[in-house]
């Protein structure tokens, strides 16, 4: 799958480059920036399933190119990295788009990152692709967000702002690699697996809409998404004695809303979404996820100089729970009807904000499991920063969200020179 991305990346990078070369040449101004980075993550509890000691070990260079010739703008962000564990190098186009801006509307076409919602590492209406392996193995947080290949149009009439998005090429989430991460797999014995091609199928284009405006001092948004779950479901070739598994991305529609604003001395965030599993509204099909209602509440406050605390409560409520229970074969772990998570983020800046101590933790209220991510980041100079941190999992059961990752505790280092 990784190879496939690279192919796509190369082709789109070339197309974009030649398409936009004239724009760049005409540009009033062009900029080149980027960084070189070393990033390593070492197991502290157990080796990887394939025996290796590192979750991550890579050298990476990123180049950002920007050219503007009003009303057009071109932006390319590309990474080249060498993975020391698998001993290969990859060129990856992380963003590459053209912007057109007028007073009343604008558009962005190409590979771009879209972030919606108000949660802190909890995503309800941010239905866009994520890279969880990046997060769990100690890459800088920006690598949690993946791109989409599509077009976005912004409309700005007086009464509200609109973001309309069409994504012709489906991009799934990246989950931890089973060679590097210990995870629960109820059908571990079946190694013959294939993924249904979610790419390049225009009939499967995704659409998304966000309407937002200020309402009584609160940033308020309504969301709609029609597309596919980015988490694969598994279809066995034979339900009784399966020999081959097919991974596919079930149809999904999401309706949601969020608001964020001042409350007391801090910032209050509220968000909710209804996940409509279009192919399994009745909930009787075990292979397809049931519909769900998701919601979160968060509050962030500054207690003293450069020290902020953020807390969140998150819930997922499974619809048609009895139908789900009836369809479950004996021996399979049963999900709870209400899945709840709490999170806390503590952040203290010191030494004129050049040193940052942070602690982020998830606590699975329903499952009793946890994820803890402490980190120290120091800007040695304006151009160089270094970070050391850890990702620790545990508690719960061997199939729960964080409990299944118990054996993957790791300590990571990041060192970046930015220019």
């Amino acid at each position: 799958m990784r190879k496939r991305w690279t192919d796509l990346t190369g082709v789109s990078a070339c197309c974009l480059f030649f398409l936009l070369l004239p724009v760049a040449a005409l540009a009033a101004d062009a900029f080149l920036h980027g960084f070189v980075q070393g990033n390593q993550s070492t197991n502290t509890e157990e080796g990887n399933p394939d025996g290796k000691d590192f979750k991550l070990s890579e050298e990476r260079a990123q180049v950002k190119f920007e050219a503007t010739a009003d009303p057009f703008r071109l932006f390319i962000k590309s990474d080249a990295f060498h993975d020391n564990i698998d001993s290969h190098s990859i060129l990856e186009l992380r963003e590459g788009y053209a912007d057109y801006t007028s007073d009343t509307w604008d558009t962005r076409i190409g590979r771009q990152v879209i972030t919606w919602g108000v949660g802190d590492l909890l995503f309800i209406n941010d239905v866009f692709p994520k890279d969880y392996e990046a997060f769990f193995s100690g890459r800088p947080l920006e690598y949690l967000k993946k791109w989409v290949d599509g077009a976005k149009v912004g409309l700005y009439p007086w009464f509200a702002s609109f973001e309309v998005i069409a994504i012709p090429y489906f991009e799934p989430n990246t989950y931890p690699d089973s060679k590097r991460f210990w995870m629960f797999d109820p059908m571990a014995g079946i190694t013959d697996r294939e993924t249904q091609d979610p790419y390049r199928n225009f009939r499967k284009a995704e659409t998304a809409l966000r309407i937002y405006r200020d309402v009584a001092g609160f940033d308020t948004s309504l969301y709609y998404y029609r597309g596919f779950s980015r988490q694969p479901s598994v279809m066995p070739d034979n339900p009784l004695t399966p020999t081959r598994l097919t991974l596919f991305y079930p149809e999904l529609t999401v309706y949601g809303a969020s608001l964020q604003g001042r409350a007391g001395d801090g910032v209050l965030s509220l968000e909710a979404g209804y996940y409509d599993s279009r192919r399994d509204r009745g909930g009787a099909d075990l292979l397809l996820p049931n519909s769900q209602t998701k919601y979160l509440a968060g509050y962030q406050v500054q207690f003293w100089e450069d020290f902020t605390v953020g807390v969140q409560y998150y819930g997922e409520y499974l619809m048609e729970y009895s139908a789900y229970g009836n369809s479950l074969p004996p021996g399979f772990p049963k999900e709870k009807r209400l899945h709840q998570i709490a999170s806390i983020r503590l952040m203290q800046f010191l030494m004129h904000q050049t040193l940052r101590l942070s602690l982020f933790a998830f606590s699975g209220l329903s499952d009793g499991d946890y994820l803890i991510n402490p980190e120290v980041k120091y800007n040695l100079t304006d151009a160089i920063w270094a970070a050391i941190g850890g990702t620790f999992f545990g508690g719960g059961k061997e199939w729960t969200q964080f409990g299944q990752l118990d054996k993957n505790d790791n300590v990571y280092t990041q060192l970046r020179y930015e220019f």
Partner: protein, 262 residues
């Protein structure tokens, strides 16, 4: 007709009525220092210098627009050029008289706009010796002001005002401000802690006329306890440049218009 009345009335007033009260001086100073023009566009260079001499640089474009009278609501839009790890970040502040500001930060690496929880009084601006309150001003009613003396600082004839916070929340017990009698700009400020010890000093190091408004184009804030100092210079500054209301929205926070950030 009105004008004639005024002239007659003024002629009859005793001379000492022209001496301003401490509150009036501070009000005029606030207007001259933080509210000149309808809007301001300034390219700002900040140098954070440690006791040992290590320098860090923060460079940004600052756009400010007044919404109402001096002392009233203002909106700020900031775009960062330096250092590299915050380049292209934008920051927006809605400042209200008498309550904490609303703040938004745009993080380009993940294309995300977030509200930031912070208390104006205690937050350092980008790690400098200036607090948010030093940058965007403190509500005048939060302090009791008194004229202490008159004194000349360099070439500036100043009124010295002592401002004592009415609430005990502040880390300083009082502040002395040297306010120029003509321009009403603060030439010097001294902050005293709870033990009456001087620990923070502001000074206006260069004043230039920009479109008829005397403007502090170089200033510094020194922390006497840590030895850390922050020097701020306006590389370019202009008033009444026609900043639109719509600039202060999520749309432009995510895509700052080229003409405002170069």
């Amino acid at each position: 007709m009105n004008r004639i009345c005024m002239v007659v009335m003024m002629a009859q007033l005793p001379l000492n009525a022209f001496a301003l009260t401490a509150d009036e001086v501070m009000k005029k100073s606030q207007a001259a220092f933080l509210y000149p023009g309808a809007d301001l566009k300034a390219r700002v260079m900040m140098k954070l210098i440690s006791k040992s001499g290590q320098e860090r640089v923060r460079e940004m474009m600052m756009l400010r627009k007044n919404f109402g009278i001096p002392g009233g609501e203002q909106k700020y839009f900031m775009y960062f050029f330096q250092p590299a790890d915050v380049r292209n970040m934008t920051f927006m502040v809605y400042k209200y008289p008498g309550k904490d500001a609303d703040r938004w930060l745009f993080v380009p690496a993940i294309n995300m706009v977030r509200r930031i929880a912070a208390q104006d009084k205690r937050s350092s601006f980008v790690g400098s010796d200036f607090t948010y309150e030093d940058i965007s001003g403190r509500n005048l009613e939060d302090d009791a002001h008194a004229v202490v003396k008159e004194e000349t600082v360099g070439t500036h004839d100043c009124t010295v005002i002592k401002s004592t916070p009415k609430a005990a929340e502040m880390e300083y017990s009082y502040k002395l401000s040297w306010i120029d009698k003509t321009s009403f700009l603060p030439i010097k400020e001294e902050y005293y802690d709870k033990k009456d010890e001087l620990y923070r000093v502001f000074s206006a190091d260069e004043i230039k006329d920009v479109k008829g408004h005397p403007t502090i184009t170089k200033r510094s804030m020194k922390n006497l306890f840590s030895g850390h100092v922050t020097e701020v210079s306006f590389l370019k500054a202009d008033y009444n440049v026609g900043v639109e209301d719509s600039l202060f929205t999520e749309r432009y926070l995510k895509q700052p218009p080229k003409r405002w950030v170069e």
